[in-house]
């Protein structure tokens, strides 16, 4: 067996966390712990970059598969990646160091514990994206809740306890059903190994119930309407780094789950429930865009816009077309970058003025021109302007949707108009206009570490907007295989009566 690169990716952050836990920092501010965390996460990023480079994009099968016996005869620890999961791993390892850089400004107490929480969270998230066994997946998926729960509950704002419990209650409720479904799958097929399950297939008569069980968990995490109300609260109370991780990566676990498990394991049921998903996605897109339009709190606005963007993702996945699924994956990566950036932007002004209310700001462009530029790029990314990564995802999703259902695509496209409205209005109210408030006048422009983190996000957003090939190329084969393997196209045609 070769070098276990995936297990290293998973374990490295945990080792870092243990190191930080046991080794005493040289001073009381835990600065050295921060450098350890930064070093570890960066090392992980480069490791995953290396993985991406040596990954063979033309092969359908899972690569770098590792399998170890764990609970004998029942569950094996099995990990591996294909073109889809590798992008999510990259996103995770890219966003985490950025979060680590920003902690100084936002976390005033118990920095050491916070770093440990972030590192552990990274372990779990990478685990989610490369586990090839349902039980292993479930463990990582649910374990991710705990550090996030702590991040919100300990380092959050005033209503942190309410938000943390709301977050926990919602997500746990869905998960319980998924656990039951996984156990049933074991009883039906005798295995929880994903690759074997892909080969075996699951009898159509069980699929609907199992699909619903998985769906209830993923829908909450996505989040889809009407189980989205935890997200605005969680974001509002979470510290900046928490919001970034939540928006950029945690939400993507569900989208990934939809592709890997809902489509992969239950193709018939997925098809059966397409109308349900379409309806919920459309409601999410239009409804939350309208709600976002009227928000007075910056973080809530961005949180609601996330729900709308994830609506495009779920819509795209269940079009079951090459463009739709690729668009969804692209949209997830892009949203990971853009929403992370937007939350960082909110964090920048929050650190200075300690309020998230939009009407307290205004006219920032005169005193913070550098901030105005990067914020503009992210705004454009969020509203899906061609030339940013946001456009590619949205447009491919809509193209895919149009193939399947013209009405759905038309309604979803309306969301693009609303998206422009709420984002530009937000930008106008914060950045443009006259400087009125006295305390706003004292705000200083971006500091060096802020420039670094924000520009690190600007570059990929623009680069992939103009040249999305590297990403699309990486998922092309896997998505095509997913469609072929489950005859999604054929099933579609039968259903349409062609």
């Amino acid at each position: 067996m070769n070098f276990p690169i995936l297990s290293s990716l998973i374990l490295l952050p945990t080792i870092g966390a243990l190191f930080i836990f046991f080794v005493r920092s040289s001073n009381s501010q835990y600065q050295s712990s921060k450098y350890v965390a930064l070093f570890i996460t960066l090392a992980n990023f480069f490791l995953s970059l290396y993985l991406w480079i040596i990954f063979d994009k033309s092969i359908v099968d899972f690569q770098f598969v590792e399998e170890r016996e764990w609970i004998s005869g029942f569950v094996n620890y099995k990990v591996g990646v294909d073109g889809i999961s590798i992008l999510f791993i990259l996103l995770t390892t890219f966003i985490t160091p950025i979060c680590v850089i920003t902690v100084n400004a936002t976390i005033k107490n118990r920095l050491k514990d916070f770093l440990i929480a972030i590192l552990i969270l990274e372990t779990f998230m990478i685990g989610v994206f490369c586990s090839l066994d349902l039980v292993v997946f479930y463990l990582f998926f649910e374990a991710g809740l705990i550090p996030m729960f702590l991040i919100i509950g300990i380092w959050g704002g005033e209503r942190r306890v309410y938000s943390a419990f709301k977050f926990f209650l919602y997500t746990l409720l869905g998960s319980v059903l998924m656990l039951v479904a996984i156990i049933s799958i074991y009883w039906i097929t005798g295995t929880t190994d994903v690759i074997k399950l892909y080969e075996l297939g699951i009898d159509a008569k069980y699929q609907n119930l199992l699909w619903l069980a998985f769906f209830s968990s993923f829908a909450v995490k996505t989040p889809m309407w009407p189980v989205h109300t935890w997200l605005p609260d969680a974001h509002v109370e979470a510290p900046t780094a928490g919001s970034v991780l939540l928006a950029a990566i945690l939400l993507k676990m569900a989208g990934y789950g939809f592709i890997r498990f809902s489509l992969g394991l239950f193709p018939d049921a997925s098809l059966y429930f397409v109308p349900l998903v379409y309806t919920l996605s459309l409601i999410a897109i239009i409804y939350t865009s309208l709600v976002a339009l009227m928000q007075e709190d910056m973080k809530k606005l961005i949180a609601y816009s996330s729900v709308a963007h994830m609506g495009f993702v779920t819509l795209g996945i269940f079009t079951m077309t090459q463009q739709g699924i690729e668009g969804s994956i692209f949209q997830m990566i892009s949203h990971g970058l853009v929403s992370a950036a937007l939350f960082l932007c909110v964090g920048v002004v929050y650190d200075r003025l300690h309020t998230r209310l939009i009407n307290r700001y205004g006219g920032l462009v005169s005193i913070m021109p550098k901030y105005a530029i990067v914020f503009m790029v992210f705004t454009l990314g969020a509203l899906g302007l061609p030339g940013t990564s946001g456009f590619i995802g949205e447009f491919l999703v809509l193209m895919g949707a149009f193939k399947k259902n013209i009405l759905v695509a038309t309604i979803a496209s309306l969301g693009v108009i609303l998206g422009a409205a709420y984002m530009l209005w937000l930008y106008k109210r914060i950045i443009f206009g006259k400087l009125i408030n006295e305390d706003v006048k004292k705000m200083v422009d971006l500091k060096r570490f802020e420039i670094v983190t924000l520009w690190l996000l600007v570059l990929p957003i623009i680069f992939f907007g103009f040249y999305p090939e590297p990403l699309i190329n990486s998922i092309e084969v896997s998505v095509a295989n997913m469609i072929d393997m489950n005859d999604l196209d054929k099933i579609n045609k039968l259903a349409l009566g062609d």
Binding site: M294, S366, A420, F432, P468
Partner: protein
């Protein structure tokens, strides 16, 4: 060479945008001006190459999107159509760049302004040189973005910010239709490249498609959806509301974006897609009707406006209407010809009005001007040239292009052609009246400005006058010189080649002689009439206004479109948003969802707590109760 044309403006934009502070105002102005000018010279060169040897070339720069069957490239396509657009865009752009050096001399953000102008030029060039619908869409939204930046350039002005957002969002409404059109094209043909789509159009003539439960002919639907995009960008009736507001931006911007280039992108789209539109009678009729409605509507509004730039803005709107109904009756080449000449005289008028505004220290109200033609002789003369060209005074550029449109509408055999011709004549008369009203109110009569003494009036610097003069040359000669090339009966097929498709060749007959003379005669007659009405005897106008007060107010309020849209779109969206947020999210989902569950749990746990009271007699009683129930059950069984 194509690469240079396209990328020089981008390079200029990047240099001046990111390093403007370091290299200073002067240098960034110089660099952007020079780079765009080079691009303009190269475009002229390409244009002559196309004219002389029928040069065509499609340079693929790189792959853009490659997803499943969707393959899209970044490309630079040069043919007759894009060569004309290249010349218009880069020429006007370079003149506007130079003009801006003078016009923005008191502004603190010069590099930023130049950067936006260059960026706009780049986006517009990607739009016109695209070989597929997706890159077209990229340029389409790109120019919209630059327009947003430039309208809101003076970010401290609340009205400018509002106008910028309005422009972007109204355009997005158009883009919504445009995007659906692209989706439909991809759905039907599996590709979005012109060269693959256009030849397949004749194969699907009879194909029907169900769209939102209406049965459409597929080609009709594609055309109509694309046209919605064109309506947004070219400010056509119903989606026109953003254009007058866009005048909040600096005047050079209005000249470049909102007169000569961006707003004509819609016309360009229709002409570029002539291989599709030729097969859709319905869409062409719609275009004719929308075009003539816009031409008429905008002219009526322009009659009563008092803001010098808004008058010209409505005039632009109206002229775009002309271009559309020209395309609607199948005379795409004539539409392009008017687009070409219009770019010169309308940019001239805008920049001229900018010179006036500059002299009046940012005053834009024509009722606060007057009597300055001796103080501003050059500006005055150039504005008069522009006005003559716009109104179609014989032998100036507008005469050739506009009269050609009216004639072609007259002889065309389409359903609405004859109506369009009638509206065309009527609008030409109104155009003439409002244009001369502008000239007479601005330059003649008494001096009416109370804040500035007339002695402070002075001409603008050379950097502003030079572009005006060059544009004036274009406004005078472009019609006469290029008439044969663009619309000559035999020569034009040769020039346009494959870039414009005519299923049936354009009619060669002429309208009756009296009709040929009708428009020019009327237009010439309106000059003394306007002079009489607006200078000699202003009482008559006042009387007409006071008699028809409701009509006057209706026109002044621009047919109440802004108010209407506010009532039916904006306010309901906002209140619906609040309702969804507070009532549905807050009261229903949360109350019955997480809060409800936690309350329920709390409720039962309180009950459970009560059981553990610690009193032995309660426990004993419950035990007794349970025991007796159990016993009863056993006995009954």
């Amino acid at each position: 060479m194509e690469y240079l044309i396209l990328f020089l403006p981008l390079i200029g934009s990047i240099i001046s945008g990111f390093f403007g502070k370091t290299i200073g105002d002067k240098l960034s102005q110089l660099i952007t001006c020079i780079l765009v000018s080079i691009s303009a010279l190269l475009s002229l060169f390409i244009f002559f190459k196309v004219v002389s040897s029928g040069y065509e070339h499609n340079a693929i720069i790189a792959t853009w999107i490659n997803s499943g069957s969707l393959n899209v490239n970044w490309s630079i396509k040069v043919d007759a159509l894009s060569a004309v657009m290249l010349v218009v865009v880069t020429l006007v752009s370079s003149l506007v760049h130079i003009y801006s050096v003078g016009y923005m001399s008191h502004d603190p953000h010069k590099p930023r302004f130049m950067s936006y102008l260059s960026l706009f030029t780049f986006a517009m060039l990607t739009l016109v040189t695209s070989d597929n619908f997706l890159q077209l869409f990229f340029g389409w939204e790109g120019v919209g973005l630059c327009s947003y930046f430039l309208i809101g350039f003076w970010y401290k002005k609340e009205t400018a910010n509002a106008a910028a957002i309005k422009a972007f969002i109204v355009n997005r409404v158009g883009d919504f239709g445009f995007a659906l059109g692209i989706f439909l094209i991809f759905y039907i043909f599996g590709t979005v490249n012109y060269d693959e789509v256009f030849p397949k159009i004749p194969e699907i003539i009879d194909q029907k498609i169900n769209f939102l439960s209406f049965e459409f002919n597929t080609i009709d639907l594609i055309c109509l959806l694309l046209f919605i995009g064109a309506m947004g960008k070219s400010a056509q009736f119903l989606l026109h509301t953003w254009l007058p507001d866009a005048m909040e931006g600096p005047t050079p911007v209005s000249a470049l974006i909102h007169a000569a280039t961006m707003v004509t992108a819609g016309v360009f789209l229709v002409v570029r897609c002539s291989p599709i539109y030729e097969y859709s009678e319905l869409a062409l009729s719609v275009i004719t009707v929308v075009g003539m409605t816009t031409a008429f509507f905008a002219a009526t509004v322009a009659l009563v406006q008092t803001d010098i730039k808004k008058i010209i803005a409505y005039s632009t709107c109206s002229q775009l209407g002309y271009m559309f109904f020209a395309a609607g009756v199948g005379a795409y080449n004539v539409a392009m010809f008017h687009l070409f000449t219009h770019a010169f005289f309308k940019a001239l008028l805008f920049l001229g009005s900018g010179s006036v505004i500059h002299s009046f220290k940012d005053e834009q109200d024509v009722t606060k001007m007057g009597g300055v033609f001796k103080k501003l002789p050059y500006t005055y003369a150039l504005m008069v040239v522009g006005t003559l060209a716009l109104t179609g005074f014989p032998f100036l550029s507008g005469f050739y292009s506009k009269d050609a449109i009216i004639e072609f509408a007259y002889i065309s055999e389409t359903k609405f052609g004859i109506y369009a011709a009638g509206i065309g004549v009527l609008t030409a008369v109104m155009t003439s009246i409002y244009s001369w009203r502008l000239i007479f109110k601005t330059f003649h009569g008494d001096y009416k400005n109370k804040d500035l003494s007339i002695d402070t009036m002075h001409e603008s610097p050379l950097s502003m006058m030079l572009p005006l003069m060059l544009l004036a040359v274009g406004a005078v000669f472009s019609g006469f010189l290029f008439k044969e090339l663009f619309i000559g009966h035999d020569t034009m097929y040769n020039f346009w080649g494959e870039s414009i498709k005519f299923v049936e060749p354009l009619g060669k007959e002429h309208p009756p002689t009296w009709f040929l003379f009708l428009t020019p005669t009327l237009v010439v007659l309106t000059i003394p009439l306007s002079y009489y009405l607006f200078v000699k005897n202003t009482k008559i106008v006042n009387e007409i206004v006071s008699i028809n007060m409701p009509v006057y107010i209706f026109l002044q309020k621009k047919w109440y479109f802004d108010e209407l849209y506010d009532q039916i779109f904006i306010k309901p969206s906002k209140s619906f948003g609040i309702f969804l947020w507070k009532k549905i999210d807050g009261l229903i989902i949360d109350k019955f969802g997480p809060d409800g569950i936690s309350n329920l749990v709390k409720f039962f746990s309180f009950k459970a707590v009560k059981f553990q009271s610690g009193y032995i007699y309660q426990y004993a009683f419950i035990m007794l109760l349970g025991f007796s129930i159990l016993l009863t059950l056993l006995i009954v069984k």
